[in-house]
């Protein structure tokens, strides 16, 4: 960073008269970008995160040249909003999880919690949103919103946010949320953090957004200090689903649709075997890898998954061999999942697979190679022939179920 203010009007600067060289800033810097040579010297790695500004007891570090004013400044925005996702008139489980988390954040900030519900003939879902903690539900109910298109949903949500200026907007990190929420954030010119696994409020009332990066090898906490709203998509199944309070009341605000001339049309919606494909929301996943040896042998995986009420996953090897469709693929070039229980059968556990599932609560690995890397992340490792162990598991479960 250039510290000569005459040439660089923006950036981070050290007031050498105030700096005592105490080194607090260097200890605090998450990027190791500060050296202390009599006074603090801020180097190339600086990300303008301002952690050092807060850490300095002598007000010696300051940032100049803040960005142009955002759509809404931090001071005049208010309220926590949750995008309540529904598909085929059924609320996505993540919507309830977000209401629980949104309620917690709203209570810390002392502000109302609102839900935004878009669709057609979905008004009946509003009571559920109230029961799960919403004070206000903004409802846009229109035939044009019957199915999801990025263009329409983005237009409506962008307009609502512009009008009501919430402080925080949360949405599920689902196929829908991760597709249209970035469009909304860019239209508003504000920041967005993807696929968060932790949220909190800091002493300055900023939203702390924590997400895994590099496949979960590191965690990063991100803030959006100057622009509003502060926006995040949140990974399903991370936040706790709250206990609903049936009969809890709130304010329903009907929103009209003022847009036309859309360039996107939804032609068809095809739902596949929901229970066995929806990996993002699944509590239990049974995944098969190359060790299964053939598409036919996946029958074993399906049988075990069926007994456990689990979704079926596949390693990249199994998908490349065309034993299962890409929708089942878990890992870096497939989906990231975090079920309560993940059972990996005949999966060796290449790093590209591990990054897609290592945040699961409990991992069971069944593999005949005791050195397979999957065992490094397995809560319970079963070394042996899957063609003996899986049938034994199936028999064991059936016996316990009494069938």
């Amino acid at each position: 960073m250039n510290q000569d203010t005459s040439q660089t009007p923006t950036g981070i600067f050290v007031d050498k008269d105030k700096c005592t060289g105490c080194g607090n800033c260097a200890d605090t810097c998450p990027f190791g970008a500060i050296l202390v040579d009599e006074t603090a010297v801020i180097g190339e790695g600086c990300n303008l995160c301002a952690a050092c500004v807060d850490a300095c007891d002598f007000d010696a570090i300051y940032i100049l040249g803040k960005k142009e004013a955002a759509l809404t400044g931090p001071d005049d925005s208010r309220g926590v909003w949750v995008y309540a996702e529904q598909r085929e008139k059924v609320l996505a489980p993540v919507s309830m999880e977000l209401l629980g988390e949104g309620r917690r954040l709203a209570d810390i900030l002392g502000c109302p919690l609102s839900a935004v519900l878009l669709g057609h003939q979905v008004a009946g879902l509003a009571d559920t949103l109230f029961a799960f903690g919403a004070d206000v539900v903004y409802l846009a109910d229109h035939p044009d919103l019957e199915g999801f298109t990025d263009e329409r949903y983005s237009a409506v949500l962008t307009e609502l946010i512009t009008e009501h200026r919430p402080n925080i907007v949360l949405a599920g990190a689902t196929a829908v949320g991760r597709s249209f929420i970035p469009h909304v954030a860019a239209k508003l010119g504000t920041g967005l953090t993807a696929d968060c696994t932790g949220l909190d409020i800091d002493p300055q009332n900023l939203l702390l957004q924590t997400r895994p990066a590099f496949g979960g090898n590191i965690m990063a906490t991100i803030v959006c200090p100057e622009r509003r709203p502060q926006m995040a998509t949140v990974r399903p199944r991370v936040m706790k689903r709250p206990t609903p309070q049936p009969g809890r009341k709130g304010q329903l605000v009907q929103v009209s649709l003022n847009h036309s001339g859309f360039k996107t049309s939804l032609m068809e919606v095809v739902q596949e075997l929901t229970d066995q494909v929806n990996l993002a929301e699944a509590e239990i996943i049974v995944t098969g890898g190359r060790g299964l040896q053939s598409a036919k042998n996946f029958q074993l995986i399906y049988e075990l998954a069926g007994l456990l009420g689990a979704a079926v996953g596949a390693s990249r090897g199994a998908v490349d061999a065309e034993w299962l469709s890409y929708a089942h693929q878990i890992g870096q070039t497939g989906k990231t999942v975090n079920p309560k229980l993940y059972i990996a059968v005949g999966v060796s556990g290449a790093v590209q697979h591990l990054v897609g599932m290592q945040s699961s609560d409990v991992i069971v690995a069944i593999n005949n190679d005791p050195h397979a890397p999957i065992f490094n992340v397995a809560t319970y490792g079963l070394v042996g022939d899957l063609f003996e162990i899986v049938p034994a598991l199936i028999e064991g479960i059936k016996a316990r179920m009494g069938i």
Binding site: P182, H183, I218, T264, N278, D385
Partner: protein, 264 residues
């Protein structure tokens, strides 16, 4: 048809190691590759060009060494390559990145923009939809199949969490693609020759008419305040014995942990 494909140079995941003490990524000596999802975007761009005629231009924002990935893209069959590179672009979050790409792509001209669904280092999946917003385009994410393309419209299958949707967009438009969409080709000999010789346009803020305040760190509303190691995984246990014993022990443990509730 003017097709623009966005690519990103990323560290090859299989070689990235974590420093056990500092929990930072050891990047030294790690090979760089074209983000895998962008390879499917490029392949789809080439296939559409072969069907419809036109050009495929690859564009990337990154440090000067990103040029090697752009040359690689040319070896697969891209016609032109543009590098957006400047110190002013450094430290960009997804908003500043997409803004910068939008200015570059506006200068190139386009009918269809194709991106990979996400980059494997950042995993945000945000740059594609944000780019569409800056350019005022309709977009569709997670495309697994192009059903039909005409001069006026694009009809695709979009992968959803529980199946797929069929979506039609009027062009110009933007799509992001998943792995399932195609099997990328190998580079051709002719392509490799072109890749060596081709002049790659390198544009900074002035060339694309972007104010420094909208690029890089200055144009990024989000800031990283903390980087830390994830909680280590808890206990690990080998469950031993004959298969029937292993199975029974496992079911006992999962039941005791409250993970499984099997009842008659």
């Amino acid at each position: 048809m003017r097709i623009v494909v966005c690519i990103k140079q990323v560290p090859d995941a299989k070689n990235v190691k974590l420093d056990e003490k500092t929990y930072t990524l050891k990047r030294e000596g790690v090979e760089s590759i074209i983000n895998p999802f962008d390879m499917y975007a490029l392949e789809e761009g080439l296939r559409i060009k072969e069907k419809m005629g036109g050009t495929v231009t690859v564009i990337s924002m990154g440090p000067p060494q990103t040029e090697s990935s752009l040359r690689e893209a040319v070896s697969y069959g891209a016609d032109e390559a543009v590098l957006l590179s400047s110190r002013a672009f450094a430290g960009a979050d997804t908003l500043a990145t997409s803004k910068t790409l939008a200015h570059g792509i506006k200068k190139i001209g386009f009918d269809l923009i194709i991106c990979g669904k996400q980059a494997i280092d950042g995993d945000t999946a945000q740059v594609g939809p944000e780019l569409a917003a800056h350019l005022g385009l309709p977009h569709v994410s997670f495309v697994r199949k192009v059903r039909e393309i005409t001069e006026q419209s694009l009809t695709v299958e979009r992968l959803m969490d529980d199946g797929y949707d069929v979506v039609r967009l009027l062009l110009p438009a933007l799509m992001t693609v998943v792995k399932e969409i195609n099997l990328p080709r190998m580079p051709s000999l002719k392509g490799k020759m072109r890749a060596k010789k081709i002049e790659i346009s390198a544009w900074g803020p002035a060339e694309i008419g972007l104010d420094d305040a909208q690029a890089g760190l200055a144009g990024s509303p989000t800031k990283v305040v903390k980087v830390f190691a994830p909680q280590p995984r808890g206990k690990r246990e080998l469950v031993v014995g004959a298969p029937a014993v292993q199975a029974a022990s496992l079911l006992d443990r999962l039941t005791d942990d409250g993970i499984l509730k099997i009842s008659k």
